[in-house]
């Protein structure tokens, strides 16, 4: 009798579940969401990916042997272990796959090793960025059907997945990822090309800026992995000598960079903060006016034991996302547009009738959107740009939902009963060839 409340929520095994409930129909599909930072993979119908593998891989280049299969270090542990001569590389460039051999290996690693599934038994849903060129899409199709031998496959734009994950068929998706921040208008699940924008002002940019900032300050950026022990100190001029581990060899610089990225990442998570209003950010951070208020210092300890309080300088890197001209490290080439301007440009490209709807349905996702107060800032900037129409930013409150929004949308899509007619089957691929992707998944 006491257990009745719980029992009423779980459907008893004797009653038949309601058909068409949620429109779901599981066909045990796999969902793969490859990104520059991490590759997410899992079973469709679940709410978070089963595995999240860094897309960076380790390799010991062998000049004699051109092929390096089997020698790749893929996964969190292998790439973070100290191996003589191991270089860290990334198969992705500008958000799209460059090195197909490695990318295939990483995907296979995710599915076969991490999920312990046989890819030829499951339909496979893969996400892609909106700017993925046709050649790359065809290549992906080839790999899925030729290498993986999947029974069915579909390629879907990550922006569409993200809008679905936030239960919106039409939305302006702002995806702040690792390599790119992209803005994509989605109408009834179809992304628009003309309003899509992207900029490299994203997680990687923040890391670069912070690394530059630390170097400028003269901080020794020895990563945790290379240190034997640490002594805490606050005065950089009187720094105690570094006590590094002796590996018997010098780890490759790319490996050290990756290790540095780890604590910079932590800095991003704990210390960095977005300035909530564009106008009030001080023009010259070295000469703050006396009456300047609103800064709370935050302390951070670097791996070598250096402790420092960060004031206005912890706002600098996030500020450069909105105003690239304040970047601590000057950007090469033309100055990219700030994120808010990019959203405005995207809106300007749209038809006048849907603009108000888009502004009311702005979906902000991606790991970089977890930066403290970034949505507040974005909201403020957009409200200033569009004082008339209603601006509303939707952002999932759960951290995994924000980070894995694209995967989650793919998971929803691939477990949806009405979606199963869209799968590109092996049979269709055999009849038409790789070009089928252009016909079926526009």
């Amino acid at each position: 009798m006491a257990s009745t409340p719980q029992m009423s929520q779980i459907l008893p095994s004797t009653t038949k579940p309601a058909e068409l409930e949620y429109g779901g129909d599981e066909v045990s599909a796999l969902v793969l969401d490859p990104g520059t930072g991490t590759t997410r993979c899992g079973f469709a119908g679940e709410d978070t990916p089963k595995t999240c593998v860094p897309t960076s891989y380790g390799i010991i280049p062998d000049p004699e042997e051109q092929k390096y299969f089997g020698k790749l270090k893929i996964g969190e542990n292998p790439i973070n272990s100290v191996v003589d001569g191991m270089e860290i590389r990334n198969p992705m460039h500008e958000g799209i796959v460059e090195n197909w051999e490695v990318a295939t290996e990483i995907w296979r690693h995710c599915i076969e090793y991490r999920l312990s599934s046989r890819v030829e038994e499951h339909p496979l849903l893969v996400t892609e960025p909106i700017w993925n060129p046709l050649k790359k899409r065809e290549k992906t199709t080839e790999i899925v059907f030729e290498d993986f031998n999947a029974p069915a496959y579909f390629l879907v734009k990550s922006a569409v997945c993200e809008s679905f994950a936030n239960s919106k068929p039409s939305a302006l998706v702002v995806d702040m990822g690792h390599a790119y921040t992209s803005v994509t208008p989605v109408i009834d699940g179809i992304p628009l090309r003309k309003g899509s924008e992207r900029t490299p002002l994203a997680g990687q940019h923040l890391t670069t800026q912070l690394r530059h900032q630390f170097t400028e300050l003269g901080i020794r950026m020895a990563p945790w992995l290379t240190l034997k022990s640490k002594t805490t100190y606050t005065d950089l001029t009187a720094a105690p000598p570094l006590r590094t581990k002796d590996f018997g060899f010098q780890p490759h610089q790319s490996f050290l960079d990756l290790q540095q990225d780890r604590f910079i990442h932590e800095f991003k998570e704990c210390v960095s903060e977005t300035w909530p209003e564009s106008k009030t950010f001080p023009a010259d951070i070295n000469n703050l006016p006396d009456n300047f208020r609103g800064i709370v210092d935050k302390a951070f300890e670097f791996p070598d034991g250096y402790q420092r309080r960060f004031g206005i300088d912890r706002f600098l890197a996030p500020e450069s996302l909105f105003n690239p001209s304040v970047s601590p490290k000057p950007l090469s080439g033309d100055l990219p547009k700030g994120i808010a301007e990019m959203i405005k440009d995207s809106i300007d490209h749209l038809d006048a009738d849907i603009r108000a709807n888009m502004l009311n349905n702005i979906v902000v996702v991606g790991g970089t959107s977890l930066l403290y107060r970034i949505n507040e800032r974005l909201n403020h900037e957009l409200m200033t740009m569009f004082p008339g129409p209603r601006v509303k930013i939707h952002s999932p409150g759960q951290i995994p939902e924000r980070k894995y929004s694209a995967w989650l949308g793919g998971s929803i899509l691939a477990s949806c009963g009405a979606f199963h007619q869209l799968w590109i089957s092996k049979q269709e691929y055999d009849e038409v060839g790789a070009n089928i992707i252009e016909r079926r998944a526009k």
Partner: protein, 499 residues
């Protein structure tokens, strides 16, 4: 005392059996100790051994859920989707029981389950019907200088692909580098549809449904472009414009609201001015009983009115509704008849605005301020503005002439018209200002006095004649008094001479 303990146990749901081992000491306590003085009974009852304050719960695991019946098995089953053109077979898990419902032939061995006849999600595969045209039709009515056949075909394919989602179609439209706006595409599509429909069935022959569709296909490109331009303008208003607009909207709303208030106030004013018009016959009130009820009704309405005038503070529309509906039917009827003629919104806006701002900033302090701000007028100014002060004003509407203080004597009422005519003064004042009324009153008084004196004179004359007759008869006793009387009559005649 034991009674309270069992009660507590009963409330807490403790098994009465648990009480038993504790009973002997309780009894002992009761026999040995007596309540000392100075301790209240309630406090004393709390001393000593009592029931535990917390219910004792037995620690054990939750019961296993009891499922009814056996667990239905699930089978992984391949299925085909009729919405697909190929032979793709996917697998999903289906409950055994529903399998049997769907299956054509329930029992087959070797796990070779028959495929269900239909896939439940296939019915969601719906496409929009797009008009198709033949070569002959195209050549006959669809030729256009701007649009080639290939481009038209391309457009129609795109429309079919994206199910008339114009935003997407305009986004994806790429034909030989031509720059086409969404309006161009829409105009072409609808003109093609209309032409083809018209060719197939002339407009006069169309059924109602076709006719409606034909009319719906009418597309005015210029109007659409203009509309989009306005939408664009609306979207990119500057903050100042937005603020201005909001201000205007607020103003409009306030005017609208106060208009309502104004109407209510006017209505109330009319209510006050209107005396109840009797619409029904008075037959009901002719008997003594009818008269009694009428008197009672009037008394009641009077009482209500008085009470409300105390309750209702000015500028409180919420309570005004009560006064709006007076209890007697006779008073209510003119209210309704008046309502139609009240509407005159524009005039009192300025006044209303100040009033509403006053109510926003707190009504009472402002009122006090107003009182102190009243300008003191001089006598000449008062006369100029025709201001007058009264100690008490009678309720209701009346003429000033009606309130004139005229002599009430019968002789005056009977004879004054003749005297007025003699003096060339009209009986009814043509301009009854307060001044003339006052003068008129004085005049009337003097006339009355004059009439009095004349009467007296006649009396005295009469007496004189009598005295003279008596004197003639003998003695002059009353001579003196007569001369005094004639003196008095002479002096009282003086005002008339002055006039």
């Amino acid at each position: 005392m034991s009674g309270t303990v069992t009660d507590v146990r009963d409330v807490l749901g403790i098994d009465p059996g648990a009480l038993e081992p504790r009973q002997p000491p309780l009894k002992k306590q009761r026999t040995v100790e007596k309540r000392p003085d100075g301790i209240t009974r309630e406090l004393y009852a709390l001393l000593g051994e009592n029931a535990p304050p917390v219910a004792v719960v037995e620690h054990r695991f939750k019961d296993k859920p009891k499922f009814l019946g056996s667990v239905a098995p699930w089978r992984e089953q391949t299925f085909k989707n009729p919405a697909r053109k190929d032979e793709l077979e996917l697998k999903h898990w289906v409950r055994q029981s529903s399998l049997q419902e769907n299956a054509v032939d329930g029992e087959q061995d070797g796990g070779q389950q028959p495929l269900p006849l239909d896939y439940q999600f296939a019915r969601f595969n719906i496409r929009v019907n797009i008009l198709e045209y033949s070569d002959a039709e195209y050549d006959a009515v669809l030729k256009d200088d701007d649009w080639s056949r290939q481009e038209t075909d391309y457009l129609f394919n795109l429309i079919a692909d994206y199910d008339l989602r114009w935003v997407v179609i305009a986004d994806r439209y790429e034909f030989e580098g031509k720059d086409r706006t969404m309006e161009d595409l829409k105009a072409r599509y609808y003109s093609v549809c209309r032409n083809v429909m018209e060719m197939r069935t002339p407009v006069t022959m169309m059924s109602a449904e076709e006719g409606a569709l034909y009319n719906a296909m009418h597309y005015n490109k210029e109007q659409e472009v203009e509309r989009k331009r306005i939408v664009h303008m609306q979207l990119y208003r500057t903050p100042a414009e937005v603020e201005h607009e909001q201000h205007l909207i607020a103003e409009l709303r306030r005017i609208h609201d106060s208009h309502q208030q104004l109407l209510e106030e006017r209505e109330e004013l009319f209510n006050r001015l209107d005396y109840p018009q009797s619409t029904g016959s008075i037959a009901a009130y002719q008997g003594s009983q009818g008269l009694a009820t009428l008197a009672q009704n009037i008394l009641n309405s009077d009482r209500n009115k008085k009470r409300k005038s105390i309750v209702v503070a000015p500028g409180q529309p919420a309570e005004k509704e009560d006064t709006k509906a007076p209890p007697t039917a006779s008073a209510a009827s003119p209210t309704i008849s008046r309502q139609g003629s009240i509407a005159e919104p524009a005039r009192a806006h300025g006044h209303q605005r100040t009033e509403s701002t006053a109510s926003a900033s707190g009504a009472t302090p402002l009122k006090d301020k107003n009182k102190s701000n009243i300008k003191q007028l001089s006598k000449t100014e008062e006369a100029q503005y025709n201001l007058s002060h009264h100690e008490k004003l009678q309720p209701g509407v009346f003429f000033r002439t009606m309130k004139m203080n005229l002599p009430k004597a019968n002789s005056f009422i009977n004879k004054s018209p003749a005297i007025m005519a003699e003096l060339n003064i009209p009986q009814i004042l043509s301009m009854p200002t307060s001044k003339t009324c006052a003068k008129y009153e004085i005049l009337a008084k003097e006339i009355a006095a004059l009439m009095d004196i004349r009467k007296q004179l006649e009396k005295v004359d009469q007496e004189t004649r009598v005295f003279k007759a008596q004197e003639a008869m003998g003695g002059d006793r009353s001579k003196r008094s007569a001369s005094v009387l004639s003196d008095a009559s002479r002096s009282s005649k003086r005002p008339k001479k002055e006039k």
